[in-house]
Symmetry: D4
Subunit: 226 residues, 8 copies
């Protein structure tokens, strides 16, 4: 536990990759394009790769001007500069309840890819038409980690949780209205799920779920290497 780098307006955690296996990721929300660019540049320099979440188009434009290798995806709102991450074993299945959950699912899927995971996208398998989910059981069961992204009542997490022998991470989305309370109901419902061992991240936090998934696969990789 040691070094960080003093920048003008922040303290860059350059030791983070050694400590946790992954470089610091830039949370774009609430940062100016200038701040994001400065941090992005320094991280790219040190680690050879960088990631911004919740990035605005303006932020992307500025960063891409300086770093032509950086790619911006307006759906997931990620700016990625892919280095050569260590390839992690297994796959991460990313499920969504509906089409409106796709932006959050893409934040998860692209983050996981940036971190070295192979991703299987299985979208629009919400429980109101349960046969759509059941028809995908083979793909879902083949995954090492399952990320269940859903809004409204979030029942996808419970149903998926009861079907697989792998860790299920639930991502509540703010898709819904009224009694949904901007995703708070979804989040609470997932936390009180009747399925054992489903864990939950913050509303719309596709990044967080992917991060945990990658950390799990990093554990698998390092355990296998021993």
């Amino acid at each position: 536990m040691s070094g960080y780098e003093e920048m003008d307006f922040c303290k860059l955690d350059v030791d983070r990759e050694e400590r946790t296996g992954f470089p610091e990721v830039i949370f774009g929300l609430g940062k100016t394009p200038e701040q994001a660019e400065a941090i992005f540049g320094r991280i790219a320099e040190v680690h050879g790769r960088a990631l911004v979440t919740r990035a605005s188009a303006e932020m992307a434009e500025r960063i891409q001007a300086a770093y032509p290798g950086a790619v911006y995806d307006p759906v997931s709102r990620l700016i990625r500069l892919d280095g050569e991450p260590k390839r992690l074993p297994g796959t991460v299945a990313v499920l969504t309840g509906g089409t409106s959950d796709i932006p959050v699912a893409e934040e998860a899927a692209c983050t996981a890819e940036w971190m070295g995971c192979q991703v299987d996208r299985i979208y629009d398998v919400g429980v109101a038409g349960i046969h759509r989910l059941l028809a995908q059981m083979d793909r879902i069961r083949a995954a090492s980690v399952v990320i269940a992204v859903a809004g409204m009542e979030g029942a996808l997490a419970s149903v998926a949780g009861g079907l697989v022998r792998r860790p299920v991470i639930a991502v509540p989305t703010s898709v819904g209205y009224g009694a949904n309370l901007q995703g708070v109901t979804t989040m609470l419902a997932m936390l009180t799920s009747c399925a054992s061992g489903v864990t939950v991240v913050n509303i719309d936090n596709g990044f967080g779920a992917a991060y945990q998934a990658a950390v799990i696969l990093q554990l698998v990789a390092e355990a296998s290497e021993k």
Copy 2:
């Protein structure tokens, strides 16, 4: 719109059966055994049948002493005096997610029976083991009205709602802890269900769901008679 009967401490809605098809039902909570008995007696006299919900054992004892035909069920907490209700067509399927939801489900099932419905109890078919639910699809689809009783995240309502061509009435229960918020999460989740046309009643309100089911079947009966 006309008559009611002035009792010592309340105004008895004796016209209710003519107006709505069913006599007034006594909500036991917050009434003294004396009050419950007095109303029970008068309703039994006028209508030949009576029902108390949320009844205490003490209340039951007192009423049964006076009305030996009255039956008390400690699970559903109902006191029933069955008259000869008009037999309603079709069946009401009452589903539960788990075994802890049974008291609320029994309140629904017994109320529906008292109102003249035939009931099919399909318990412990929660979504964490979805094959238990799917194995019962024939019975569920044979019902005229489906009452889905569940606690925790209440996903049963959404899954059932997507599978049947009949009205689904969801009853959230207060089974759960922490993020469940004494059933408030379950209730909100059911209201924001991704399934079309699921309607919801208050937490633990098995009576209300059964009442609506019976009213629907009364409509069917009266429509068929025409």
Copy 3:
């Protein structure tokens, strides 16, 4: 329980009409006009009719360009392509507390019509001037199903629930301010109604109430046919 159709970004539930009696309805919120049009087109092709709820003007313009028979109503925000739905028996009465509740009521009324119901609109009969409601009792009692649409304290549902022998479905609206909490108070008040057997749908969910009403009338129709 079987087939669905894999589209580019979603899984279309083409079996739904056979399973539930009605084609899948498109929830417009959170979909791009392109997505809405694509699904609309495929549903129209398969079922000969289609419905979009919460549609934007832009979405309507695009769909109407491709499907001139589609009608857009900016008040209810529905895009309808009416096929030849099976005519359902009876009528659905749609009540509102005030004039501000009309958009939600129209979502209910037009959805019910699209599903084959005959609708009786009884608007502005809120309880602060109870004689307006009482003056309409004959029309309300003539209905097979009553949908009570109200904002603020939502008392209309309780008063209506006590007056009729038919199912009452309450739709809380987000009309109100302050203590109304964007309709959450209305919704909770309707759920804790003193009237027996009122069921409730999500805030502003006129569609959901109409769907349940049509499902009830479909039950009546199918029961009569037997």
Copy 4:
């Protein structure tokens, strides 16, 4: 603005009657019987009358031992020592939705009587059987101030508010369960009532409503005297 009296554990507001027209009333909750008795005694000495709200039986026993003229009513939980209050003009109508609201209504009615009002009790006129309320319209309209005591969705306040030309004070009660949220829903619903000019007091605060009613009639009395 001047005097108060220093007691051992509190500061008695002996000027209050001159300032506001009524002596300080003792809120029993959270006080020991000893404290209640000490304050009661001093107030009785100064003003010739005293009132304790939310009194326990133990508190009553102790006070009655010392002040035989004090009367305890276990329903309203009031201990009253009636002096010779100034007789206030008009009447206060106290309405309840159901029988479970009676304890709170009695707190209101007895407080108003202690303060010099004439009270008309009109109980069990909840809106689920609206004809019971309408049948009492003459008595309700004859009142100078109307106190509407109701639990559950609290619709009584809105209906009453639309019918009379007099101030309506709504008292939400904690009668209900689930979505009722221990009366919070009732309270919020009354605050967002569609009736003009209904004012609201705290949950179960029959005392507060009666106090305001008496203050209004005191204003009438003093205005007439001029």
Copy 5:
């Protein structure tokens, strides 16, 4: 209890003045300018005076074009057409905690004036500088009814409530941020006030407080006339 007038989109409560003493007031929020104008016109015709609350500038422009006597005040957002209301006795004191509460206070003050009251505006007397309030005690005590308009913690209601012998009506405003929860905290705090007999209306509901004040003074007037 009888007549109302069927308009195109609403049912006008023309009997209201006879029943309650005041014509129906138009709640502008959620109405189109066309709807507001149509109702305004009919009310003006029947009663010779009219009032719109929460009116937009566009609504005002349209109404003023048709009814040159109508006056619009952008601070209180009221459109008034003053007839010759019955002059009510006494005065209504309208207090505010700060300058940001003035719009709500003006809604109260102008409504009260339109209803026939004399108003004394006592602004910016919040409790963080208690001497400002104490310096106005003579004016406050001279009033027949006190309306206390305050945001933030709303302590003005409690302090005022303890000082006067007249009804105090508290109006919570949405002035504040963070823990204020858009005025919900203020409202709850006023409801749990330590002062006896303060009643409360909805957040920012200056109209409701004024309405109740006028109804009280109407009672005084009618009592004096007898």
Copy 6:
């Protein structure tokens, strides 16, 4: 997806071990001792091991009478019958913020042991004395999965999350008062943690965290075997 066993009051998911790697665990809350014993017996018969969570002393007594090998721990409230679970690789570190969090931590630790994990208990390392946590860094970093159990503001999860390269699962406890809101604040705080990739389970749900941990280590084991 296939078989379950119909018991008198429930449907036993006997296929669960094959499907997920672990037998069904009995949630004791809301079950009668008779029900718990019956399920326990059947699971023990089929799988050779069983676990009850949230077990009462009475439940334990009854089960131990029938199954002398069953062990009851009143702190964690678990009844365990240990079979010969597959030994899982690595260790699970269970951290607590304070001594009051130990019952929840023990539920986690003992569940993990029952599922085949090796557990390292690191208790009372809350952040108000951060050096206690830092002094344990070697043990914490040696773990394969970290479970952080904490009440109050739950900061332990954020601090731990920033220090390790392994999955961190946070368990909010209901330890605290007032603003803690029975653990809801802790839970929300952990969900909005500034550390990347911390996932969260329900309040006091030590079982759920342990289950996910064991599932992760099962993945590691099965990946290594390949």
Copy 7:
């Protein structure tokens, strides 16, 4: 930052006095009497003084048996063993709104005394009788730090905050009912106070307020010594 002492079930922060000026205080809630006694004993040995908050009578009995110098006060629920604390300069004024707030106020007052402060208790000066507060202004203004303890709407904090040139620490209490929400309303109201620079602690947390007051006076003492 260094040493702590490993006890059987916890890690004792023996360095705390050197680091912060005060020994660790034992939070009694959720600890067994045995645990409390063990920690008490070790702290008394190391520091010569000890304090337990939220102590039960049983806990006190056990500790007093072993440490006869320990004093238990059932009102404040503190067990104190007073060493010879450094006498801190100035005084701490502890105010309460009513008599029901006294237990929390005593927790504050006795804690401050144990930490070396001189305390001035000024009780029952709530704002509903503002002259009681104003009559004590000299004593309040003479204090170095003011602790304002109040329940209900908590207005005392705002009024006091506007009157003094010294730090005001507000302690919301859970005294109240209904809209008080067990003190949550009080707490939020104090946080959104219109007075500048009032800081707030948790509901009923008299200890926390006193701790901060003592830390402020320790700063004064150490600054004066320089």
Copy 8:
């Protein structure tokens, strides 16, 4: 307690500096630029210095045109006219968890400077990289008062609170999303902190924390002078 100055729309508390040590500060939110300028002018005239918080750019422009010495900082949204405040002893350390908290921290820092404090800004020391905080311990411990500004789960307050012997004032910020509930979670978490004696101000209320810090240092200054 005496004088204030009647302005057109408010009552200026000109005595405030004498009473509390500091002139009244203008809360910009909800005031028009005209109102802000008028009050600013009068305060500047009386006290020779003035401060506006939550100022808009338009407000700043108008005030700077009239008072060229006034300085506007768009980050902290303060307009300052610095007079010659009494220099207060010691320093105030202002900490932030991340870069997004800087605007609130600057409101605190600049307010403290305007009030006469020396400020040490220690930004971006959030607990997810605890070594950044530990590396600054010497600076933090050198401060007389610590202001901890953080969003998300707000753990910085707890960690800092356990490390220093000086008053810690926590400022929750609205930085975060979802479960953060616009800073409400942060605020509640800080209030239920496991660290002793941390006090809390409203969300984003940097001003309030600085005000309390300055009042503490004023106490130190006045105590030292004696």
